[in-house]
Subunit: 164 residues, 2 copies
């Protein structure tokens, strides 16, 4: 798919089929995250790939909206080095989600607020923390979540020229 078309059509989706995400697609998702730029090329991220249902289930209490992450056939948790910017997490996450979308794989970022839980379940070392989870899966055919297709701000409200 053309890059611009992938970018502007990508929607976050929370419902997925049970079908496993193909290995070569996972490899491209990881490579997309790996190639994202970072501040001064500090490369402050690490990725934890989860496909084991029992392991994903242990993350259920890590945030208020973890259901889709637990149910998705593939979850990736992005860990961020302490003192580094969440901005770089967003860059890598977007790369991963666009690479997935380009292959017909839906995705959605899932907040993981409970540091004690993610740290213990995922055995994250002291100098890193879980910054975000991303759920991935093929479309389920179920009706979309209510937020799908929510309109965006009009350009005139979003964009200013030279000053606000």
């Amino acid at each position: 798919m053309d890059a611009y078309r992938a970018i502007v059509t990508k929607r976050d989706r929370r419902e997925y089929a049970r079908q496993a995400v193909a290995e070569d697609v996972l490899r491209r998702i990881l490579q997309a995250g790996r190639m994202a730029g970072s501040s001064s090329n500090s490369q402050p991220l690490r990725f934890i790939v989860l496909r084991d249902d029992a392991q994903k289930q242990k993350l259920a209490p890590a945030g208020p909206g973890t259901g889709p992450l637990v149910r998705a056939p593939l979850a990736i948790v992005i860990c961020l080095e302490k003192g580094r910017r969440d901005f770089d997490v967003g860059r890598a996450a977007q790369n991963m989600m666009l690479a997935a979308w380009n292959e017909g794989v839906f995705s959605c970022p899932i907040g993981l607020r409970e540091d004690a839980i993610t740290r213990s379940v995922l055995e994250i070392p002291e100098n890193y923390a879980a910054a975000i989870g991303i759920a991935f899966g093929y479309p389920s055919g179920e009706p979309s979540s209510s937020r799908f297709g929510t309109p965006r701000l009009p350009m005139e409200e979003l964009v200013h020229y030279e000053r606000w």
Copy 2:
């Protein structure tokens, strides 16, 4: 360009030709940023487009590495609503930079640490703050900055399975 190819080949570049970025390319960059997902569709971002050299020059003291932003023919400052996540800034910035790359336009995120300066120069309201600047421009033909092509971490070091 295919989306995956755009994602994995994109490099941050800090040197640009003086040539203005075409209007239709700017429109697609802005639309790419506009369509980025955000937490609960909160749409916490606003974009300020800068092409006026005098206005860009006023941002020079806003950070230690603002030179490329001042010299670039096009700069976009992303403003973030207070209390919202820098993660969403990264998602939109990556969308914009990939849309640019897809059209042969180089880019690089530039930190803007000095809130008092960005707020005053760009007339940013109290409940928002400048989160990042992005410099955009066509390739200059000059030698690349030293960080161009810096190798990424090997996959084995970057990626863990089920737990760290």
